[in-house]
């Protein structure tokens, strides 16, 4: 038989003024299992706690109920208090007599009756409590960063500087991401490559950082502090251990295909270093383009390579490593505007380009060496139209969200055109100009001073007559349709998450929203954490943002990672699910509803009558389970249960309600 002690707190007059606490204590004494009940002015105070401890000794209590304020207030306090006694901290229930009784009622009689009822429920529950113990899990002091753009590089560098090993997995042949493609950064107009390439070099040179380019995450298992990650390395066909990056192979390769780095504005060979400052600065072979690999012809690169680094037989390989924390930084791509907007020509006009293509056009290391010319005929455009919100703020054709960076880079593009092309005219069609950042509004002002014409209205149609692109919009401030005959049109195309994100998120077991952005644990207070402990996020995988915000998030995620990895081990909550393997039928429904992938089906040596058999049963991973209890309600047998909130305990609470 349980020996329960009941302690009713006056909370000064907070409870006692409405609830007859003495009567509550008196009637508690008659409840089954209760051997002692009393009241006290302030139960949470030092003397109050001392009184409880004494009573435990004196009446040989093995569990207690405290009738006081909300358990959200002092449950931890009282658990801590119990740590010094012979009672396990979890042999405690709190009846919420303040927030949910005294403070919300006025009728003393009825409130007292309710208080008795609440204590009765807690008594019934505590009678079925079991001692629970927290356990600890060790932490592997290494971090994995998925994505080698500016966000991933920043996070990796900061983690590495704290002294932890970091691996960067990048699917492309070089790290650097989108930032190295850009020409200048707003609002300061520093050279984008000049500030991002040193980071790339630093990543490569840092003793704590391992770069894994042309690699993808294949499989993730485990939990916070103990992730096991299988990394797939794509075939590069070049032995990077031997290769010196001399680049001879590139110059001799006869095949030319569209350059991804130059956004389709130039060609590159089939064996290529993506761009001049690439890290690692070693080539890979594009297997879809290479003549040797597609048709078994050519083979020139092998012949010219002075050290024999070419290996046409290279294959995909896998490595498995352990990490304590993971940062996802998979970045963005631009939406496929051509699919979405047939009214803008659907991609058939060469002189309708995206903002990213313009970055390459205006970049001194780009295909035109920084001369702004029309891709169709190489002539310098005089009239340029910039169309904002292409694919963003358009729930029907594109995305409903604001893409955040476009207002500023469009202003930057206008400034660059007006600066580089004498007597040029730039018309910017916009709906709203959003410049919330330091120095941004001033930059927008300057762009207008430079001569950019801002026209408020969305462009309805772009078509071609002769060599001119006819752009039709409305000047909605005047209220009349306007037409611009343009030489070139730049579309400020919306960002969307990298196409790989859904796959990566699925492997990591983290949530993405309807637009495929990775969901943070809390939008305000946990912005760089995911729902899964030990997995963090940064950069544009979470939502559109500009470079300063991206870098800030990278560092923030790194701080979170460091805060985790600086411990040798961590405590886990004991209030988690557990399985009775003898009752479990192995249907696996609990596995399906678990949001944390904490449940797996495992083999279990059980019995079937007199026979020894191998059953398949559910097993809870204590590191992953967060104790929501969703699995409990789906289990028909009731063999998966939640410590601290067992079926038994809740049923007893329900029963007590109506006694």
């Amino acid at each position: 038989m349980a020996r329960i002690g009941v302690f009713i707190c006056h909370c000064g007059t907070n409870i006692a003024s409405v609830v007859d606490v003495e009567r509550v204590a008196e009637s508690a004494k008659t409840m089954p299992g209760v051997v002692f009940a009393t009241t006290y002015k302030y139960m949470c105070s030092e003397p109050g706690q001392a009184m409880i401890k004494e009573s435990i000794e004196q009446y040989n209590l093995d569990r207690i109920v405290i009738g006081s304020c909300s358990p959200r207030m002092h449950e931890l306090t009282f658990r801590k208090m119990l740590k010094g006694t012979k009672i396990n901290p979890y042999m405690l229930e709190i009846a919420n007599l303040r927030e949910q009784c005294a403070w919300v009622h006025t009728d003393r009689e009825k409130a007292t009756e309710k208080a008795i009822g609440l204590v009765q429920m807690s008594v019934a529950k505590v009678a079925n409590n079991k001692p629970l113990t927290t356990s600890t899990i060790p932490i592997t002091k290494r971090a994995l960063v998925i994505g080698g753009g500016i966000a991933g590089m920043q996070a990796a560098l900061d983690i590495a500087d704290c002294g932890f090993d970091v691996t960067i997995v990048e699917k492309e042949p070089s790290i650097g991401g989108h930032m190295v493609m850009l020409d200048k950064t707003f609002p300061t107009m520093d050279c984008s490559a000049c500030i991002s390439t040193p980071k790339m070099v630093e990543c490569n040179a840092h003793p704590n950082i391992t770069l894994k380019t042309s690699c993808e995450v294949e499989k993730v298992s485990g939990y916070v502090g103990n992730f096991e990650v299988t990394i797939k390395e794509k075939a590069k066909y070049v032995n990077h251990d031997l290769c010196t990056g001399c680049g001879l192979c590139q110059t001799k390769c006869p095949t030319k295909v569209t350059s991804e780095f130059d956004q389709g504005l130039s060609k590159r060979p089939a064996i290529y270093i993506p761009f001049a400052q690439a890290v690692p600065s070693k080539p890979v072979i594009d297997a879809n383009a290479c003549l040797k690999l597609t048709k078994d012809k050519c083979g020139i690169c092998e012949k010219v390579c002075p050290i024999g680094a070419i290996d046409y037989k290279d294959e995909v390989s896998y490595t498995t490593e352990e990490y304590g924390a993971i940062v996802i930084a998979t970045g963005y791509e631009l939406v496929d505007w051509a699919e979405m907007y047939p009214e803008y020509g659907g991609g058939k006009y060469k002189d309708v380009i995206t903002g990213l293509q313009f970055e390459r056009l205006v970049n001194a290391s780009g295909p035109t060496e920084g001369h702004i010319v029309r891709p169709s005929d190489g002539k310098e455009p005089k009239d340029v139209v910039i169309v904002k919100c292409v694919g963003s703020r358009d729930p029907k054709k594109g995305k409903s969200y604001c893409s955040r960076a476009c207002c500023m880079y469009s202003a930057k593009h206008a400034h660059q055109i007006l600066d580089k092309i004498p007597n040029s005219r730039v018309y910017i069609f916009y709906m709203d100009v959003r410049t919330p950042g330091k120095g941004y509004e001033e930059f927008y002002d300057n762009t207008r001073r430079d001569g950019a014409q801002y026209i408020r209205g969305r462009v309805s149609k772009i078509y071609k007559e002769g060599s001119k692109l006819i752009v039709r919009g409305e000047d909605s401030l005047i209220g009349k349709p306007v037409t611009v005959e343009a030489d070139m049109v730049i579309l400020a195309t919306a960002m969307e998450p990298s196409p790989t994100v859904a796959d990566v998120a699925n492997k990591l077991g983290i949530a993405i929203d309807a637009d495929r952005w990775v969901t943070e644990a809390h939008p305000k207070l946990r912005p760089v954490e995911t729902q899964t402990n030990g997995i963090y996020l940064c950069g544009t995988c979470q939502g559109p943002k500009d470079i300063p915000d991206t870098v800030a998030q990278g560092s923030a995620a790194a701080a979170k990672v460091a805060a985790l990895l600086c411990h040798d081990e961590m405590e886990t909550s004991p209030m988690i699910s557990f399985v009775d393997p003898n009752k479990c039928s192995g249907c696996g429904f609990c596995e399906g509803v678990c949001p944390y992938k904490a449940i797996t089906m495992v083999e279990y040596a059980g019995r079937d009558g007199n026979r020894r058999v191998t059953k398949t049963v559910a097993q809870v991973n204590e590191g992953l389970c967060q104790g929501c209890g969703c699995c409990n309600a789906i289990c028909r047998t009731g063999c998966i249960d939640l410590k601290g909130f067992t079926n038994d305990q809740i049923l007893k609470e329900v029963d007590a309600l109506c006694l």
Binding site: P71, V593, G629, I650
Partner: protein, 155 residues
């Protein structure tokens, strides 16, 4: 069913509240000294998805006059997806109970966030009034008491 016109009669209403939203909302109602009827008793659960519909059946069996299940709004679940399952479960359970003769007002579910103290109060006032109007529940009520009702924890 004839409703007893006993003005002193108070219903017993059981509310399952998730720890992160509704229980917090209920605490906030207290903090703001909002007033609502005394006949509601809250059982704290980690998540509305912890609530097994069998608990509801048990509550009616034990003579509860009404049952309320409350959780975070869909999309706001502390455990990401729990309340989506809650939603399906109790949409079906509500209809099943109704089909078996239980007035739909006696079993209700509501999304109440941690900041919606007023919504918690209004819900309790409304449910309480509705059930008062219906009178005591006589359906599914029984006398069953499990064997180990008090000793507990000895399994």
């Amino acid at each position: 069913m004839s409703v007893k016109k006993d003005n002193n009669w108070e219903p017993v209403i059981l509310a399952f509240c998730c720890n992160w939203c509704t229980y917090t909302g209920a605490d906030l109602a207290g903090l703001n000294r909002m007033k609502y009827p005394e006949n509601v008793r809250v059982i704290r659960v980690p998540c509305s998805s912890r609530v097994n519909p069998q608990f509801i059946i048990r509550a009616f069996q034990k003579g509860a006059d009404g049952v309320l299940v409350c959780g975070c709004h869909p999309g706001d679940c502390h455990y990401a997806t729990g309340n989506y399952y809650t939603r399906r479960r109790f949409m079906l359970m509500k209809r099943l109970l109704e089909y078996n003769g239980i007035d739909p007002k006696r079993f209700q579910a509501k999304w109440i966030s941690g900041s919606e103290a007023a919504k918690f109060r209004d819900t309790v006032i409304q449910v309480s009034a509705e059930i008062k109007a219906l009178g005591p529940n006589t359906k599914f009520v029984g006398t069953y008491a499990p064997q180990n009702a008090v000793e507990g924890g000895q399994e």
